[in-house]
């Protein structure tokens, strides 16, 4: 479904990604882990072109999104993204946060968008918050709204960029539970995370990045029990 072929990304002199290739299949859940500065987030952000790779190709469903002629807006509408700091629109109610893009970008009718939005809010357990502004929500609630906001667009792929890193510890679970539900429903997901137990439990594959290179690409059982590289061993010793 997603084919990443030899992508590099440089910011000025700094080469953050040094040639990464991998594939993510339909319905697959991939956890991207590694030390900070290893390029995890940059790799994720390349998939919806928030960062444009310096070289290399990304192909989604047969379409080369890295082609300069590709319709970026169209591509992004099919890829949901959840950020570390939620980035809900503060001047819109929760319901409007959800309906804005489907109505204004996809041309969905307002009634249909609201119906869908309400379904999704109930799915993430926030039906009672439809009419409040984001500032009235806890971090965990904001992140669940952000997930719902992406889902109303009916994306084929969901990207998560450290979705629980900015949360108070007692709110991490509610967000991970929603993500787990999503994974169980067959959504294709790429998740940059520091939640090792979650990655081990939910992911089908672990991508371990270090210094802009893909060091390991393995099923979680192998990666966590028998890491192949010295670098991954060191990393796991420190985080567990």
């Amino acid at each position: 479904m997603i084919k990443i072929d030899q992508i590099t990304k440089s910011f000025g002199q700094l080469e953050v990604l040094k040639g990464i290739s991998t594939e993510i299949g339909k319905g697959e859940v991939v956890a991207i882990i590694g030390p900070s500065g290893s390029g995890k987030s940059t790799l994720l952000r390349c998939i919806n072109l928030l960062e444009v790779p310096t070289s290399g190709q990304i192909i989604i469903n047969g379409q080369a999104i890295t082609d300069p002629k590709a319709n970026v807006m169209q591509i992004r509408q099919q890829i949901g993204m959840v950020f570390q700091h939620f980035h809900l629109f503060p001047h819109m109610t929760v319901l409007n946060n959800l309906t804005y893009a489907p109505v204004k970008v996809k041309g969905m009718s307002k009634d249909e968008a609201e119906k869908k939005a309400k379904e999704l809010l109930s799915r993430v357990g926030l039906s009672d918050k439809a009419d409040v502004y984001p500032s009235r929500l806890s971090g965990g609630q904001k992140q669940r709204v952000a997930i719902a906001r992406s889902l109303v667009m009916e994306p084929q792929i969901m990207l998560f960029d450290e979705p629980t890193s900015a949360l108070d510890p007692e709110m991490v679970k509610e967000v991970l539970d929603v993500m787990k539900g999503l994974a169980d429903s067959g959504m294709t997901m790429a998740i940059v995370t520091h939640e090792m137990r979650f990655a081990e439990e939910v992911a089908d594959r672990i991508l371990f990045l270090d210094g802009g290179r893909l060091v390991e690409d393995a099923p979680p059982a192998d990666f966590f029990q028998r890491p192949a590289s010295e670098r991954a061993k060191q990393f796991l010793e420190k985080v567990r």
Partner: protein
């Protein structure tokens, strides 16, 4: 002190009539200036080459020359340049719109750039096209940030609108001048004019506080 309002009393309604002109010029210019200033601000933060250059030069010129000169230029030079005999009212509104847009565009630009980068990214990630993103997501938040500055700009404009008396437009100050000419009293008409300006500024300040509170509902 020679302090005598009796002679002035019959002329007070006449001075009050100037309120209409003062308010008209101020409010219309501020609204049009806001629209034009928003456009300039959007051009400045985009990368549109020549347009960008134009917006920067425009702002520089209007901020770098005296307002009274701009007003005189528009009123007296327009007929010579275009053959169109511009009315005092048109010249006033046009000048104040063009001038306030220059100031407002800088304020809005600052407000837009102060909006969290995450908002841009969230909108982009949802596939929102640039124009929609600016109008629906970024601009409303940017304007909210700068609301107090916009009110200050309106207040400044209200006071500066007294300059229109120099081209003979019958605003508060001009009518006070007329009364001065008729009655040969200086103190009283100007005190009345001053009180009127002050009261209007205070009213504006209250309105602004109210609007600001409403807009902060989402915080």
């Amino acid at each position: 002190m020679d302090w005598n309002f009796d002679q002035i009393v019959p002329y007070i309604p006449f001075i009050f009539e100037g309120i209409k002109v003062t308010l008209q010029v101020t409010l219309i210019s501020v609204v049009l200036g806001f629209i034009w200033g928003s456009i300039l601000a959007l051009i400045k933060i985009s990368k549109l080459g020549p347009l960008n250059w134009f917006a920067v030069a425009y702002t520089s010129v209007f901020r770098g020359t005296p307002l009274i000169l701009q007003l005189s230029f528009v009123y007296f030079a327009t007929p010579q340049l275009t053959g169109y005999s511009i009315s005092q009212w048109e010249a006033a509104v046009l000048t104040f719109t063009l001038n306030s847009a220059a100031y407002i565009s800088e304020t809005i630009r600052g407000g837009i750039l102060a909006v969290d980068k995450g908002q841009w990214e969230a909108a982009k990630a949802l596939g929102v096209p640039y124009r929609r993103m600016m109008l629906d997501i970024i601009l409303p938040q940017g304007v909210k940030n700068i609301l107090p500055a916009l009110v200050n700009e309106t207040i400044a404009l209200l006071k500066e609108s007294a300059l229109v008396s120099t081209i003979g437009l019958a605003d508060i100050l001009q009518n006070a001048n007329v009364v001065r000419g008729v009655t040969f009293r200086y103190l009283e008409p100007y005190i009345i004019a001053g009180v009127l300006y002050y009261v209007m500024v205070m009213l504006l300040t209250w309105v602004a506080r109210f609007v600001e509170r409403r807009m902060r509902r989402s915080d």
